[in-house]
């Protein structure tokens, strides 16, 4: 099974990278760009069958390692079957 975790800084936490990206895009002529946020995405290949259990395990992984809940929020989803 394949899971995807998407991690961003929480709303309200300053994202200097996103800031720089948005400014650069505008400088390049993409004037419609309002703002940008840069996050991390982690795709995990798991040897498991049950979608629900897998999602629960991946949520645990986020709490334990992949994200710091103090400043980051994350989303997990299953994106591929066994």
């Amino acid at each position: 099974m394949k899971a995807r975790v998407t991690i961003f800084y929480k709303e309200g936490v300053f994202d200097p990278q996103g800031n720089t990206v948005a400014e650069s895009l505008r400088r390049l002529g993409f004037k419609t760009v309002q703002s940008a946020r840069v996050g991390k995405v982690v795709d995990i290949e798991l040897d498991s069958q049950h979608e629900k259990d897998t999602k629960a395990a991946v949520d645990k992984m986020c709490e334990k390692l992949l994200a710091n809940p103090v400043i980051e929020s994350f989303k997990t989803e299953i994106i591929g079957g066994a």
Binding site: G12, V13, F14, D15, E23, V70, I71
Partner: protein
């Protein structure tokens, strides 16, 4: 539900913001009204331990702070020392302990950012960073992730801004399990007549905000740093900020450019308690008044209240004061560096700060009421179990072999190569770093000063084990050890900064430790005739009521003027004599060996002989003026055994080995493992031995021939001609090189 900025506050609000009933009463009486909610926010930040020094200020007066080199002592963003030729150095050290536990990477990174701003605010270009780190037991998962994050945070920030991290100290002890220490030091270079200060002077001058926009981040950071941790603390909103080293670099260049162009009157970074502390402190120093309109503050989020704007700790922001006709030039420079800037107020008559938002005055306070908080009275008491701590069971020590004790010391978590940390730091950017990053102190050439051959030597040191057993000696010894390290690298100490990390000041035993440590630091500085020019106090380093070991970190600068050589601190070849300069034996109280043997720190540390220290510095000075080459290293943690082995482990000579002979009549434990300072090892070709011995005699320090280097690949200890211990250097090296690696996987 949100409280309006201008609403009068209540005692309950004060309590929930950490303002004590006495402090609140004092404020109401002076104001003849309750402060508004926004004003209360200001008091809560400025009366916090972190900003007010309410427990420590009277004790800090003990420090010697004057001297012929001192151009700026404590009280400014950083202290400044004259180094001759019209140049000066500004330096300071600061803690970022609590944020680094909650979010190790960002906590440590923003710590480095903050201290660099303190230094370039003075008009100095930062040329060197140091860091001193204390972590808990590496058996804990949490410790390993903290180590990894902190080191990466320090590296990423300094590397990106382009300031080399040239030295540091790393220590592991369970007392830091839930409260790691992250102390960051920055030194900058400036012309001695171009010092900038945090003065908001000149009625009619403009108050300008520059740097990142203000968000809600870190609202309450300053008060967080002044509260003990409890394990269940789960902050409901981010109290840790994200650092932006890129903006810091722009701010650094823009600020120095504007200073050079003569466009700035006074300047201060927005550190702890952000806009609040910078505005009130600048007004205080200049004895001026300010009017500020918060609608002009660049904001990252919508609907921010005055309370939030005044307390936000968004990073990479500065407050400065300029003359109105200089504004255009100033704005041009900031625009060039792609920075936001905005006029947010002006300097006015009187001595009050008045703050407006949405056309309403929400703060109107006399400056002194905010900057001169009521001092806290803190009782002190000698720890009741001190005498027990001092008991050291010599009889039990005798039952164990020398080999067993060597193994204890050589497998200690603190006996390790710092390479996994050091290689993550750019130690060379700036093209000034000489010598290796593993030497006793860092050496920097000053290529900026035309014609000057002077160099700077820098080190940070502290011995918390000793300080816990005998805080006065701990303070003394931290300074003494730093001085020896500087002297070894060819320098004369010129001044120190400190970062005093302690438990809760509400604990009388902690206050006793604090006062004693300050006394010890002061005695050592007086003996060395060097000043304390800046520093920082971090209290409340404890978890669930158990204080950390008192950790008064010392950052010392030295000046190298009389030599161009970069001394070697490792063995340069085989068949050299090894001389121990100083006493043949050292004290075992609080030593690494006895702490490991008894599984707790014990024994009464012996006092550092400060006269002997001065004579040792004299010896080092004479030694560096000789013509022949030598290797030199000081004896500290782990004693002579560790010091000799380190000289072998850092050596590039294949198969290097050595013997150590226990002098006749000497106590083997005290000889091999004693940690009294100063003791120094010198390795030289046998032909030069008598010259060294003569230098030592002339300087009035003892000496003993204790062994020689060889190509056996082994460490051998001899007593009365008999071999009493033998260990292969290669096997020890493997452990030593790999010990900290698991933290970085």
């Amino acid at each position: 539900m949100r409280i309006p900025d201008s609403q009068p506050s209540t005692p309950d609000m004060a309590k929930s913001l950490g303002v004590t009933p006495d402090e609140y009463h004092h404020v109401c009486k002076k104001l003849e009204r309750p402060p508004t909610f926004a004003e209360l926010g200001i008091f809560s930040a400025m009366f916090s331990e972190h900003c007010s020094y309410k427990s420590s200020k009277p004790l800090l007066r003990r420090f010697p702070t004057t001297g012929k080199r001192v151009l700026q002592g404590p009280g400014e963003n950083a202290g400044v020392l004259d180094i001759g030729n019209g140049w000066a150095v500004a330096f300071k050290m600061e803690s970022h302990n609590h944020p680094s536990y909650i979010e190790p990477f960002q906590g440590a990174a923003t710590g480095v950012g903050g201290i660099m701003r303190d230094v370039f605010t003075m008009g100095a270009r930062p040329i060197a960073n140091m860091n001193s780190l204390c972590f808990g037991s590496t058996d804990l998962e949490k410790t390993r992730s903290v180590v990894k994050g902190v080191v990466k945070g320090i590296g990423d920030y300094g590397n990106c801004v382009g300031v080399p991290t040239v030295a540091g100290q790393t220590l592991f002890h369970p007392c830091y399990n839930r409260n790691p220490l992250v102390n960051a030091f920055t030194l900058g270079l400036l012309k001695s007549d171009e010092i900038f200060r945090g003065f908001a002077s000149g009625v009619g001058n403009l108050v300008v905000y520059v740097g990142s926009k203000t968000g809600r981040d870190g609202v309450h950071g300053a008060s967080m740093a002044s509260k003990e941790f409890s394990t269940e603390a789960e902050p409901d909103r981010p109290t840790v900020q994200v650092g932006d080293p890129f903006t810091e670099k722009l701010l650094l260049e823009a600020t120095l450019e504007a200073m050079k162009a003569g466009l700035i009157i006074g300047i201060q970074d927005m550190g702890a308690a952000g806009l609040t502390s910078s505005s009130f402190e600048m007004a205080e120093r200049a004895e001026s008044g300010l009017e500020i309109n918060l609608d002009n503050v660049p904001m990252r989020e919508t609907g921010m209240s005055a309370f939030e704007l005044m307390l936000s700790e968004s990073q990479e922001r500065m407050l400065l004061v300029c003359e109105p006709d200089k504004l255009e030039g100033l704005t041009k420079i900031f625009e060039k560096w792609e920075l936001h800037s905005n006029v947010i107020g002006k300097v006015v008559e009187g001595h009050r700060v008045k703050i407006e938002k949405n056309g309403e005055v929400v703060v109107d306070l006399p400056v002194e009421l905010v900057t001169v908080p009521p001092m806290a009275s803190r009782p002190k008491v000698v720890p009741s179990d001190l005498k027990q701590r001092w008991f050291l069971d010599r009889n039990r020590l005798f039952t164990s072999s020398i080999e067993a004790k060597l193994d204890l010391v050589f497998t200690d978590i603190n006996f390790a190569s710092a390479q996994p940390i050091v290689h993550q730091y750019d130690s060379m950017v700036g093209n000034r770093t000489e010598g290796g990053t593993f030497d006793d102190a860092a050496l920097l050439r000053l290529r900026d000063i035309p014609g000057s051959k002077s160099k700077l030597a820098l080190t940070v040191d502290c011995n918390p084990r000793i300080t816990w057993l005998a805080p006065r000696e701990g303070g003394r010894r931290s300074v003494a050890e730093a001085a020896v390290n500087i002297a070894i690298m060819g320098g004369d100490p010129i001044g120190i900064t400190d970062c005093l990390n302690f438990g809760s000041p509400e604990n009388p035993e902690v206050m006793w430790q604090f006062e004693e440590a300050i006394e010890g630091i002061s005695e050592a500085c007086e003996a060395l005739k060097i000043p304390v020019i800046s520093g920082n106090v971090s209290f409340y380093n404890e978890t669930d009521g158990v204080p950390i070991y008192p950790t008064p970190m010392i950052g010392m600068a030295g000046l190298v003027t009389d030599t161009q050589r970069v001394p070697k601190t490792s063995f340069a070849s085989s068949e050299q004599d090894i001389l121990l300069i100083g006493p043949a034996e050292g004290g075992l109280g609080g030593s690494v060996m006895t702490s490991l043997f008894f599984k707790r720190e014990c024994g009464q540390p012996e006092d550092t002989d400060l006269n002997l220290l001065n004579r040792m510095l004299k010896f080092c000075e004479r030694l560096r003026k000789t013509k022949f080459s030598y290797s030199i290293h000081d004896v500290s943690d782990g004693g002579l055994a560790t010091a000799m082995l380190e000289m072998a482990l850092h050596s590039a000579v294949p198969g290097i080995g050595f013997t150590a002979k226990i002098p006749q009549g000497a106590d083997p434990d005290r000889f091999l493992f004693g940690e009294t300072i100063p003791r120094v090892l010198v390795a030289i070709d046998p032909g030069h031995r008598t010259e060294i011995e003569t230098l030592a005699s002339q300087a009035g320090v003892g000496f003993t021939l204790i062994g020689e280097t060889n190509e056996s690949g082994e460490m051998k200890v001899l007593q009365g001609g008999l071999e009493v211990a033998k260990r292969p250097v290669a096997a020890i090296r493997t452990g030593w090189e790999n010990r900290w690696k698991p933290c970085f996987e």
